[in-house]
Amino acid sequence: MRKKIIALVLSVLMIGLCFALAGCGDKKPAADSDLAYIKDKGTLVIGITDFAPMDFQKKGSEEWVGFDADLAKKFAESLGVKAEFQLIEWDYKTTELDGKTIDCVWNGMTLTEEVKAAMDCSKPYCNNQQIVIVPADKAADYQTAEACKDLQFAVENGSAGEEVATEFGFKITEVENQASALQEVAAGTCDAAIIDSLMAAAMVGEGTSYANLTYTVGLNDEEYGVGFRKGSDVVAVFNAFLEEAIADGTVDAIAETYDVQAALIK
């Protein structure tokens, strides 16, 4: 008798667990207005990672600045809410959005097919390339994609760089983030890395953290956008805001501060 009861309790719990976990997989469109929800709580929580020149902290400062961060503050202001920057684990960006622990992902996010399937994204606002990083002294040998095909590449797990590398049939080692990929090249554990050109501009080459590395080939063209929850009505509001900010020169001014004006999409 007791065994039967145990079995019953166990099975009920297991079935419950299955339903609960299945529930996590559902992508329910936001039932009510997402805009109203954000305005109601008075904060726009912006999911970011530390990523110069888009979202970063200057030495000795706790304030988040950067091309994305500054524009995000303006957007929050236009909504009449407070901008709150929250560091996230990049792998969990969609979960964070769906779980409403953040309200948008705004962090130099490449609009890949996966991203566009998982979130509702804004119009693209910035161009980017996936580019090859190699040690500066070997750069001359690897100026074309063809020349790079025998190298061992370090790429960020699940990144646009990994997607491109797979398309080209490169041998890859997956690492946790783009900085780790650079670290692999600097340490000689990988021959090359593939990272975002905007990031490379800030982190690679003379006068940066990785003075011994340089970038050679651009492998593709891609665009950055801001990600919102599926079905969110904030997307349209943001697109209108962006159009206006471009028109009145706000975007240009911020871009010049962080040296990304060449990549802007207008």
Binding site: I6, T49, L87, I88, E89, T101, Q183, S209
Partner: protein, 229 residues
């Protein structure tokens, strides 16, 4: 080397902020899990079968699944399934969710240590208390408890020192504890990038902290050495 000394103050400040978060999580977990574990151990030893069964089932589930998954479930579940992000998305919400997950997890581990300790007290201690007219609660608090404490100090100190290091798991829900702070300098933070030494340096914090705890536990053990159980 010059670069190291130039970077050190920035890194040190960031690691201190991270360590403070680690320490807060550690202390809050202990404050919650030490008493909750006792309640759970009473539940699992209850003569009322359904209660002890359910309690043991919970302990089994919590001890049988990774803390990392429990963190993710506790943090994301409310928002994803019920559409109500009860924790909020900010740092304080993440800290609260992490604390709840850690308290539940560690209370279950502690409860098993308590249970072992309580059950190892000879039945004669209970019988002597009974014939001397002590109530059940007097028996527990005046007679049994200190003997249990003496018996469980070694396994508890083990578990608590493990907790010091387990706090780093909270980074999965982006709680910016010391490992997160150390790692941020690899990717780039506060104008320093591509540096792995801050991450290695966090080890010094853990080592010092667990060293202090070990000393405290040794002191406690010594303090309780005046009697034998």
């Amino acid at each position: 080397m010059a670069q190291f000394f130039q970077q050190f103050p920035t890194v040190f400040a960031a690691l201190n902020v991270g360590f403070l978060q680690t320490l807060k999580l550690f202390i809050c977990t202990l404050l919650g899990a030490l008493p909750l574990g006792l309640l759970i151990s009473f539940g699992s030893m209850s003569k009322f079968k359904p209660l002890s069964l359910v309690t043991r089932l919970i302990v089994w589930v919590v001890r049988g699944t990774p803390l990392m998954i429990q963190l993710l479930i506790i943090f994301f579940f409310p928002g994803l399934v019920w559409g109500k992000p009860i924790w909020g998305g900010g740092e304080s919400g993440r800290f609260l969710a992490a604390t709840v997950a850690f308290i539940i997890n560690y209370a279950c581990y502690f409860s098993e240590i308590y249970r072992g300790g309580i059950q190892s007290i000879p039945v004669g201690q209970h019988e002597a208390s009974q014939v001397l007219g002590l109530t059940k609660s007097q028996t527990f608090f005046r007679v049994v408890l200190l003997q249990v404490v003496k018996r469980i100090v070694p396994p508890m100190s083990n578990e608590i020192i493990t907790l010091v290091k387990d706090t780093s798991l909270a980074r999965i829900i982006a709680l910016q504890e010391i490992i997160w702070a150390g790692q941020s300098f690899m990717k780039g933070s506060h104008g320093i990038a591509g540096q792995i030494w801050p991450l290695f340096f966090t080890g010094v914090y853990y080592l010092l902290f667990s060293g202090i705890l070990t000393l405290l536990f040794n002191k406690l053990e010594k303090k309780l050495s005046y009697f034998k159980v």
